[in-house]
């Protein structure tokens, strides 16, 4: 019998959800292809267009493989296989006509949902993924009388003990490491160079960069959090490059001051940069290797699809000594390119006017504290320093940091650009900072009195950005960002955003804990968990017994709720009907309970009293909705002995 795809709404919704979730990871063309195929199927099932010819399916399949090969130059890899799977699903939908197609689509759907987990373990995908997952199961239940949603809910609940046992006890063996094809498009994130517009591009994204949780109880405000990533030494006016980076032995640095310890869980990134606060003394408890490089920066060996976590210790207000660095401050931090004419003229004038470094720094600061300067995410595309400093006055943090550092060097002050993240959003529910791509930032460090001092020119242009953090600042309209940029602390508040903030805070906290749990349950954790379990064997036995009892209890539950909505008297009526049929009395499905009892009255004249009493009771309880004359248990007893007696008579 021919089956119609759109006749099974549960399958349609679940599959579309699965395809939608996975399509966020692949190119747009495959999503468009899927939309066209599904639309075609919809129209053909409505008899508005012809069905897709069966012969076209292999051709379309070949087309998908060809397109994937053209785009990626390989068929092997996460994005490649996801694209192929989505294409196959779309073609199967277009040719859907049998039960086998349904089953094939369900299996494809399962694979698509699970492949998504390789791309992201974020809790936000769990909801839709789980709905699609259970929906695919549900689509396989064909019985129309069954209460499907309750059925699948209880089926999932019954499966939970087995899931827990498997998850916690299945050995986390490492047989092989699945080859991870390099992503053709690196994830958005900080890189080790700076071009005008580059940080702005990152800050326009909303993805998570990392979460930071302070182990040391300390209150830090947003504008104190500068998460250093890469240090750039080579100036080309508004463009900066990192230059040669030397790997150093992991020596524990000694700084004087208050130690603060914090845990960082960073999202996968292709650039291997490790983010820490200033004056890092120690880094450890990491799940991947981390190496120290010069200028107090770190790199990891984690793959671009692996999350990184580490515990770091920094000292507050302990700037790094310039001579700690293997570079020669005079050579490496004073190098400047040929300056554009207006900048050159300004530098020459400042140099002539101000003889000390302090005065020159003050003059530089005064230059930037100019109301004409505007802090904006979209300053326009240009990379001429003169244009920025003397005509446009519009720039993002990288414009200010790059030009400040270049000008400082021109004035004879060692300077470098640091890129990383500034601020974050504190999660009050979980007590951690969520640092997103919106917090991407660039600032400078200048070498004064053998110390690297942080100078952030953005603070003179838009202090609000530093006080609020990127996420809250960029949530303002562009006009408000400019209008209130010089305000120290300002935020538009209304009830709606308050509730939204509470909801997002709680969700973020859950998401963080979820990520930590998923990341931390590795082979070592499992072994230690089992060791703990074996040393606490009475508890372990109790836990196993409880799980077994839970499984048995759940399995004893009926698969559906066929009688769960029944009142005790209705259940008793079902019992009476059943026992009557056992005695050979034919009771039709259409017969009402009262008529059934009437039928029994006629048959069993000798027990008329019990039957007529119960008939009256039934009417009172069910129809008049009043209390009965005696408990149902008592009635059940009476009916039970009645049927026993009748059965005996029948046997005789």
């Amino acid at each position: 019998m021919k089956k119609y795809f759109f006749d099974n709404p549960i399958l349609v919704i679940s599959l579309l959800l699965a395809i939608g979730i996975a399509s966020t990871e692949v190119s747009t063309w495959i999503s468009l292809f899927a939309v066209v195929m599904i639309l075609w199927k919809f129209l053909s099932e409505k008899k508005l267009v012809r069905e897709l010819p069966k012969l076209l399916a292999p051709l379309l399949g070949f087309f998908i493989f060809l397109m994937v090969y053209i785009q990626y130059r390989t068929l092997w890899g996460q994005e490649e296989s996801t694209t192929i799977l989505l294409g196959l699903a779309a073609i199967t939908i277009a040719n859907f006509s049998t039960d086998r197609d349904h089953q094939f689509l369900v299996l494809l759907g399962f694979i698509i949902i699970m492949i998504k987990t390789i791309f992201s373990i974020d809790l936000i995908w769990m909801g839709p993924s789980m709905i699609a997952f259970l929906g695919l199961w549900l689509s396989l239940v064909t019985n129309t009388r069954i209460s499907k949603f309750k059925f699948i809910f209880w089926h999932a609940v019954k499966s939970t003990p087995a899931l827990l046992l498997l998850f916690f006890l299945f050995p986390r063996i490492v047989i092989f490491q699945t080859s991870k094809a390099q992503k053709k498009q690196a994830k958005v994130g900080i890189s080790e160079s700076l071009n005008p517009g580059q940080i702005g591009e990152i800050a326009a994204q909303s993805g998570l960069a990392f979460r930071a949780e302070f182990v040391t109880p300390i209150y830090l405000s947003t504008n104190e959090l500068y998460w250093r990533g890469a240090v750039l030494n080579l100036s080309n006016n508004l463009e900066w490059l990192k230059g040669a980076v030397d790997q150093l032995p992991n020596v524990r640095k000694k700084f004087q001051g208050q130690k603060i310890q914090y845990k960082i869980v960073a999202e996968p990134s292709s650039n291997k940069i490790v983010f820490t606060l200033d004056a890092l003394t120690r880094i450890g408890e990491t799940n991947r290797r981390i190496d120290l490089y010069d200028a107090g920066t770190f790199r990891t060996t984690a793959g671009d699809d692996q999350q990184l976590q580490y515990l770091a210790t920094s000292i507050l207000d302990a700037p790094q000594a310039v001579n700690d660095d293997p570079k020669n401050p005079e050579q490496d931090y004073l190098q400047i390119p040929t300056l554009p004419p207006k900048t050159r003229a300004w530098i020459d004038q400042a140099k002539a006017k101000h003889k000390t470094l302090q005065d020159r720094l003050k003059a530089l600061q005064d230059f930037f504290i100019n109301p004409k300067f505007v802090y904006t995410l979209s300053p326009g595309r240009y990379n001429d320093m003169d244009e920025f400093l003397f005509s446009r006055y519009k720039g993002f943090c990288e414009h200010y940091a790059a030009s400040y550092a270049t000008m400082a060097r021109a004035l004879g002050i060692p300077a470098r650009v640091v890129i990383g993240y500034q601020g974050g959003l504190y999660n009050t529910a979980g007590g951690f900072w969520k640092v997103s791509q919106k917090d991407a930032h660039a600032w400078t460090e200048i070498g004064l009195s053998n110390k690297w001092i942080r100078v952030d020119p953005t603070q003179w242009v838009s202090p609000l950005r530093l006080n609020l953090g990127g996420e809250q600042f960029f949530a303002l309209s562009e006009d408000d960002q400019i209008l209130f940029s010089h305000t120290k602390n300002w935020r538009k508040d209304d009830d709606l955003t308050k509730y939204w903030d509470v909801a997002t805070t709680i969700f973020e906290d859950l998401n963080y804990k979820w990520t930590l749990f998923l990341l931390n349950y590795d082979k070592e954790t499992q072994l230690s968990f089992l060791k703990d379990l074996s040393s606490e064997w009475p508890t372990a036995i109790l836990v196993i017994f409880l799980i077994a009892a839970l499984i048995v209890t759940l399995m004893r539950r009926r698969p559906t709720f066929a009688g769960s909505g029944l009142t005790p008297i209705s259940k008793l009526m079902l019992y009476i009907e059943f026992k009557s049929t056992q005695l050979g009395i034919e009771i039709k499905n259409s017969t009402t309970p009262i008529n059934t009892l009437g039928q029994l009255e006629n048959i069993f004249e000798d027990h008329n009293q019990l039957i007529s009493r119960f008939k009256h009771e039934y009417e009172t309880i069910v129809y008049e909705e009043k209390a009965g004359t005696q408990p149902i248990k008592k009635w059940k007893k009476e009916w039970s002995s009645f049927f026993k007696e009748k059965r005996l008579k029948a046997d005789l």
């Binding site: 089953q103 094939f104 299996l107 399962f110 694979i111 949902i113 699970m114 987990t117 390789i118 373990i121 993924s129 997952f133 199961w137 396989l140 239940v141 064909t142 019985n143 129309t144 009388r145 069954i146 059925f151 089926h155 999932a156 019954k158 499966s159 939970t160 003990p161 087995a162 899931l163 498997l166 998850f167 299945f170 986390r172 063996i173 490492v174 047989i175 092989f176 490491q177 699945t178 749990f517 998923l518 990341l519 349950y521 590795d522 399995m555 004893r556 539950r557 009926r558 698969p559 559906t560 066929a562 009688g563 259940k571 079902l574 019992y575 009907e577 059943f578 049929t581 056992q582």
Partner: protein, 294 residues
């Protein structure tokens, strides 16, 4: 046992488990183990679904060899909590027959099904084993159960041959020979067309009106008597075919309400009509041994 879909599902689960191990991805583990545990739970559900079903009664009225007969089976669900879903039932080893479906048997309830059965031999035999199978809920696995009732039934011979009876020699034969004598009697009522009736006997007007095939029943005239004699079937070579021919004539006589008798060698039954005569003579044929007709 897994179905074809079940095997494909298992293959997918194994591939995904290998992926989870390879990627060391705990979220992938969560989904794979949920997939596996859902399948394990469905295994128990499928098994329990069939296990709860019980055959209460199995009966049939008249059964004929090599003809499609209907058995009436009553199944019950003794469980007071769980419903039974999607059970496919048919007589064991009958691949050409479509299964009957019990889509739901509520707790403490019974359901009756009509199941097709085609026995291959006449005689006394045990009612067949019923095969019940279910792929509920996800069609990943199939569980089955056989039901057997220790009840014996007589299978009448197949009704096969020609309706018209040969003319017998002798003075009384002419009077007795025509099996289709009913039209000489008075019209009594209508009844539904049966496969042994000649299509020419269909009362078309009435059939059109009631949208089913009907034939007229006539009061048999008391003096119409038919002798069905084994000797008249000598032209048929195979004894079983001869028995089938006799069975057809008996059936025809019974349908036309004439008084009839069966004569096989030295045995002759008294002339009579009605269900008792029919059953008696058909039973005689069902249990007929070579010694009785050779």
């Amino acid at each position: 046992m897994p179905t074809g879909f079940g095997y494909a599902f298992a293959a997918v689960a194994v591939v995904l488990l290998i992926l989870a191990i390879g990627y060391m991805n705990n979220l992938l583990y969560v989904f794979v183990f949920l997939l596996i545990s859902m399948a394990l739970t469905s295994m128990l559900t499928t098994n329990k679904n069939v296990e709860l079903l019980q055959l209460d009664q199995l009966s049939a009225s008249l059964l004929y060899a090599n003809e499609k007969n209907i058995l009436t089976a009553t199944f019950k669900n003794k469980n007071n909590r769980a419903s039974i879903w999607d059970i496919f039932i048919k007589v064991r080893l009958s691949p050409d027959v479509a299964s009957q479906v019990l889509s739901q048997v509520k707790p403490f309830s019974s359901e009756t099904l009509s199941i097709q059965w085609t026995p291959t031999q006449r005689g006394l035999t045990q009612l067949p084993r019923l095969h019940a199978q279910s792929r509920f809920p996800f069609r990943l696995l199939v569980a089955w159960k056989y039901f057997e009732k220790d009840t014996q039934a007589i299978i009448y011979p197949q009704r096969k041959g020609t309706l018209s009876m040969p003319q017998l020699a002798g003075p009384s034969a002419e009077q007795e020979a025509n099996a289709l004598v009913d039209k000489d009697g008075f019209f009594r009522d209508y009844r539904e067309f049966q496969r042994t009736d000649s299509p020419s006997r269909i009362a078309w007007k009435k059939s059109m009106k009631l949208q089913k095939h009907l034939v007229k029943n006539f009061e048999s005239s008391g003096d119409k008597k038919v002798l069905i004699d084994w000797a008249t079937t000598t032209s048929i070579t195979h004894p079983e075919d001869r028995i089938s021919q006799i069975a057809l004539w008996i059936d025809s006589c019974h349908n036309t309400h004439v008084s009839y008798s069966l004569k096989i060698k030295d045995y002759q039954s008294p002339y009579a009509s009605g269900l008792q005569q029919y059953k008696q003579l058909m039973q005689k044929l069902a249990l007929l041994t070579p010694a009785e007709y050779q």
